[in-house]
């Protein structure tokens, strides 16, 4: 079964693969080989500098932003949709959180200090939920295509952010938040822990719950799922709310790392999140994709980016190589089919 071209991607498989069944899934195996090859090549070119604690740690600092955003994109892709509003949602939530934290915080410690930070984060999550509900309602109940709906909310949400701040940056966040983006716990960047904290429940939700199973089924065949007695509209609504909430967490991490918030941060990440998800084996038409694959793909992208950085290559060359790898990896099965080799 482990050599089947399309191993069953049921609920159990997702958690299994998260723990590391790298041999159980064709895509993951291919990505793992690519990762090992890349590390070997960069190790040979760069030498010891590539394996230092500083390099590995800087990778771990950079990965969570794109990582959490990619998860937000991934869950909608699996359901056969798309969420173009993740970046603008992340930014608007970050702005709201930053506004409360910079205007309301009394002193630098005490009960009120902690309390207001919790309020700020709660407000950020609330805004995200509202955006998610709007997206989910229009997509599920009005039947508008996800790309159109989220294109609209993306523009609108960004417009709110720009309108309220006049395009300015809100900066000067409390140390506790800056720690979230730039501190370490036992050598592990705090942002990485946040990434783990959102990834694990998401892997369980996708792999082990009826909700997750419904998400995959809707992505494969929405009509059939509906006829099998599942309230697909409710599930879609929840998918977009979860996607929005993940975006808000990404916004928190970004705000913590930059020690500031702005309506148009990280916009170039939007299409990269689709790239990362698809490279990780998520089918852009819906129905397939696992968290483990996406994490592997994120690590690959990060390794390339960090290595090119150490080699003093332009970040734009990194973009080009990311694109080439996406075409390469998605083309491999088709080329093999064409050559008559059965995968």
């Amino acid at each position: 079964m482990s050599n089947a071209p399309h191993p069953p991607r049921g609920p159990d498989a997702a958690l299994m693969s998260l723990i590391g069944s790298l041999t159980g899934d064709v895509t993951n195996r291919r990505l793992a080989i690519l990762l090992v090859a890349l590390v070997a090549v960069f190790g040979l070119i760069i030498g010891e500098g590539f394996f230092t604690k500083a390099t590995v740690q800087s990778m771990a600092f950079q990965l969570p932003e794109l990582g959490i955003l990619s998860l937000a994109m991934m869950i909608t892709l699996i359901s056969g949709g798309l969420n173009l509003s993740i970046i603008s949602t992340a930014n608007l939530c970050a702005l709201a959180m930053a506004y409360i934290m910079t205007k309301m915080l009394p002193g630098t410690e005490g009960f009120a200090f902690v309390g207001w930070q919790i309020v700020a984060i709660a407000v950020g999550l609330l805004i995200a939920s509202i955006i998610g509900l709007v997206n989910g309602f229009i997509i599920a109940y009005l039947g508008v295509s996800p790309i159109l709906t989220t294109l609209g909310t993306m523009t609108m949400v960004k417009g709110i952010g720009i309108g309220m701040t006049r395009g300015n940056v809100i900066s000067g966040l409390p140390d506790s938040i800056v720690f979230l983006g730039n501190g370490t716990v036992l050598g592990i960047p705090t942002a990485m822990l946040v990434f783990a904290v959102v990834t694990i429940p998401m892997a369980i939700a996708l792999g082990r719950t009826p909700f997750g199973a419904a998400t995959y089924m809707i992505g494969s065949n929405e009509k059939a799922t509906q006829f099998s007695g599942i309230d697909t509209k409710r599930v879609i609504l929840r998918i977009y709310v979860i996607s929005s909430l993940l975006a808000a967490v990404a916004g928190l991490v970004m705000m913590a790392r930059f020690n500031s918030a702005n309506a148009s941060y990280a916009e170039s990440y939007l299409l990269v999140t689709i790239l990362a998800a698809v490279l990780g084996g998520v089918d852009p038409m819906g129905g397939f994709g696992k968290i483990a694959g996406v994490i592997l793909s994120l690590v690959i992208l990060q390794v390339i980016s960090s290595a090119f950085n150490l080699l003093n290559f332009s970040q734009f060359l990194t973009l080009a190589i990311w694109g080439a790898i996406l075409v390469g990896v998605t083309a491999v099965p088709n080329i093999r089919k064409r050559l008559g080799l059965i995968d």
Binding site: L84, V134, I138, L142, G143, V144, S145, I147, L148, T149, L151, G152, T153, M154, T155, M156, V157, K158, G159, I160, I162, G163, R166, G167, E267, S268, L271, V272, I274, L275, V278, P284, M285, S314, F316, L317, T318, L319, A320, I321, W322, G323, A324, L326, V327, T330, A331, N334, I335
Partner: protein, 330 residues
Amino acid sequence: MPENFARFRRSHEFWLLSVILILVVGLSVMTEGFLTLQNLFDLLTSYAFLGILASGLLVVLISGGIDISFTATASIAQYITMLLANKYGLNWFIVFAMASVVGIALGAINAVLIDRLNISSIIVSIATLNIFYGLLVFITGGKYIYSLPPWFSHGIYWFEYVDADEISYGINLQILALAVMFTLTWLILNRTNIGRQIYALGGNREAAQRLGFNVFRLNILVYCYMGLTAGVASLIQAQLAQSVAPTVLVGKELDVLAAVVLGGASLAGGVGTVFGTILGLTLLAVMQNGLILLGVSSYYSQFFVGLVILLSVSATALSARRKRKGVMTE
């Protein structure tokens, strides 16, 4: 005739046209600057870039595909052409031919990847967007080209007419190119066999294939046409901006997509008209222009654009649903 009108009244275009007319009447009454020849010429000139790209993307969407990479294609076409024009002092015909060839070549890469490797068009074009753009900025170092050949900077101005206030109007390069590309797209889609085949391909790919359509050839045509429009659009943008900047065009691809889908084209393929696309673009242009003339802070303009997109697509979806219910009860 009444029958035709009844059909038109139920169409997406009718809704768009009504909204635009209401906006136009409202803006003409409320502002002095809107319904002036100068404002209308300025609008046409500044939206020509998006409009030309929209005509190309329309063809891609009708064929059932999507292209995101055209802004990178346009940046490359612009850069190469203007670099060579500065060096060798070319003429109008050659620069447009060159930009078109560059666009067509890059479009062909998309088509080959999509068709031969059987990868979905959205993935291919996201990948090629990164590849084209990354390589362009890497190789050029992101340097702007500020000095363009004088004949190019000067542009063209046909049928010049100076009014009492000594403001001159005329058909400039942008308006001319916009008119030519919309006409060409309309002719291809409505007056050629290939146009019918593109609609058929987008409507039902399997059926088109079984009917013996050469799908590969159609894909090449569609993505190369998108490339061609990117090449043409890139030059008129350079002429308007009076410079070439490799980093300013990428990021506008979703604006173009918004105009085309507002115009009624479906991402599922097989649906869409040039008239609808023109209306979608007009709606965005009139609204953004109106907000500025009304004195609404430009910081909020994006908010209203997003709101109109959401309202418009929701209203269309609701009316489509009502129509379906109507058919069922009849």
